[in-house]
Amino acid sequence: MVFHLDKCIGCHTCSIACKNVWTDREGTEYMWWNNVETKPGTGYPTKWENQEEYKGGWKKNGDKLELRSTSKKKIIPNIFHNPSMPSMDDYYEPWTYKYDELFNAPEGDDQPVARPVSMITGEPMDIEAGPNWDDDLGGSPVYAANDPNMDVLSEPERKQMLAIERMVMFYLPRICNHCLNPSCVASCPSGAMYKRGEDGIVLINQDRCRAWRSCVSACPYKKTYYNWSTGKSEKCILCFPRLESGQAPACFHSCVGRIRYLGNVLYDADQIEQAARSPDGELVEAHRKMVLDPNDPEVIAAARASGIPDGVIESAQKSPVFRFVKDWKLALPLHVEYRTFPMLFYVPPLLPVMSQTEGDVVRSDVDDLFADIEKTRAPIAYLGKLFAAGNDGKVRYALRKQLAVRIWRRHVTVGDIDEETAKRALVEAECTPEEADAIFKLTSLATFDDRFVIPPFQREMAMEMITDPHEHRSSAGFGFREAPTRS
């Protein structure tokens, strides 16, 4: 998966598509398997990146890799009360409005109002916070100023970022990263969580989940959610029923800005353990190294030897993810320092300067749209903390290449930049005209089939076919084989 942040317009269509398909049930009202955050900001749940508090992901202890939260050692104390579990206060209490009161209120002197009521207790409530309370930097003295990623910035840099808060922001859409080294799976005491071998989707077996809640704190991205009604944890399932019938997941399909790319990659699972022990600065490279070139004859032979069907290898060769991550090195993993190796990669936003303030006057007739990337208003150190575990060079490389592609395309289509300048920009960004055109095409002109290369799922071969296909007919839609009631 690749999300191109330079294209995200923050419209939340993805979140709504997901909500309507999967989490519109009792116990899931507060869950946003897909959410879009404004950065800088504290995100959802509040300050999820603060692993001192939530203890998500892995940490390196000498040469060993350990879960920050419930490891095998801590299972007994943590199972009765999980000390690092976020509670509903850290998300928000979901509410609805008594809409019928607008229509059924008796005639009177006042306008009828729809009172907010809690979706948990059904009682009237005062709304204090919700998801995206800091959308578009709303309340930034509270939210943006408390962004844990600002720690890497010096005091002047922080001040600078907050002083121009009205102009510097970008959106960060987040779903489950379906990590290579998932800490949620490793922490599940019941063994209910697993990664599917065929496609790498991380799932929770609802029948085996016993509400020990380890996954909720172990996931550093806070993308497993506890269903308070059924007593089971739930998470993004990457719309596997859609994928298995060749459709893109709902959030990908509905994306207005077409920022989302989906494709399979071949990787070497034997390297995961070693790679996860790399020093912080080398994690991005170690992660990238695991992704193998699907056109390399040796890789193809090895894939065949381990039973990967030709159809899957072919789709890996067409995968837009491989191109963004490995070929072009434009896409970077979010917070790779958690050492879970997220398989959702982000193209960092270029954030070109579109206007400038001079005193109280805002000028939007800036001549030089292609300013130096060092002058981007979000400090590179901030992006480096998000997307490269502090290795700012990786971010700089991706931004420089994006900028070079723009300069090159400006030369090709508008022609007000001469070829020599454009080519020099490309050389500086370690890019060629052919590569620049390919990046441009996949970024700006990509069709549905270019963006979503879904491998054949071989459903006819899957062992699930042995079970009765009518088993789930007229069930609740989320794999419940019985009414999801408490007892």
Binding site: F80, H81, T121, N181, A211, W228, E482, R486
Partner: protein, 229 residues
């Protein structure tokens, strides 16, 4: 006659119900086997209820099991008055810990509006039975002293007579009323157990300790797949 029904028949009914319903529930409604934690809804008071209760009840139950399985060992340990005292005091301490936890659990369920939302009738029944059980247990330990010794001489042979299917209630019939309340309530708990969330005890995640860190499941039979494509 009443003694025979309560101490010679009720245990069998309770155990049969326990076995049949837990197995049937696991097979037919496996989804419902969950601890139904409410920590997510209320995170502070939860600690003062759940933690002392679980540690307390585990130690107290372990004591009962040892008394049942190794009565002679307990008796020889208790032969020395100081050791008897140590055992009794430890038992009472953990029983009080259990009670403190239980009272906090019930208070939290009553006072927190979100926790109340997920409290069912079966939860309330469990709390009532557990309160009777823990309070009667502490009362016995305090007022009927040295229970660790007479458990081994009276309760253990009676339990074995039940297991051997020739119930002999004469071991326990002469015991004080409070002890009988404790015994009868214990079997009521066992009988109600499979209908409540207590079933989470049966699915404690011990395999976690020896399973591999990561779990990967393939739906394809990859060797077959290769041959057919």
């Amino acid at each position: 006659m009443n003694d025979f029904v309560l101490l010679g028949v009720l245990p069998y009914i309770a155990v049969v119900v326990f076995l049949l319903v837990t197995i049937q529930r696991y097979r037919m409604k496996g989804f419902s086997y969950s601890s139904l934690s409410s920590q997510f809804l209320e995170n502070q008071h939860h600690f003062w209820g759940s933690v002392p209760f679980h540690y307390g009840i585990l130690v107290v139950l372990l004591g009962h099991v040892i008394g049942f399985l190794m009565p002679t060992a307990i008796l020889s340990w208790n032969a020395e008055p100081v050791r008897l005292l140590i055992l009794e005091v430890t038992g009472i301490a953990f029983a009080i810990l259990t009670l403190v936890g239980l009272v906090n659990i019930v208070l939290r369920r009553m006072t927190n509006r979100l926790a109340r939302r997920v409290t069912t009738w079966s939860d309330l029944a469990v709390y009532a039975l557990l309160l009777v059980q823990v309070i009667s247990g502490i009362a016995i330990a305090v007022f009927e002293g040295w229970g660790s010794s007479w458990f081994a001489t009276s309760l253990t042979p009676w339990l074995w007579s039940l297991i051997k299917l020739s119930p002999d209630v004469s071991y326990v019939a002469p015991l004080p009323g409070i002890v009988k309340v404790h015994i009868v309530n214990a079997f009521l708990l066992i009988g109600f157990f499979p209908f409540t969330r207590l079933v989470h005890v049966l699915v404690v995640p011990n395999p976690y300790l020896w399973r591999k860190t990561q779990v990967v499941i393939w739906n394809w039979d990859r060797s077959r797949l290769r041959k057919t494509t």
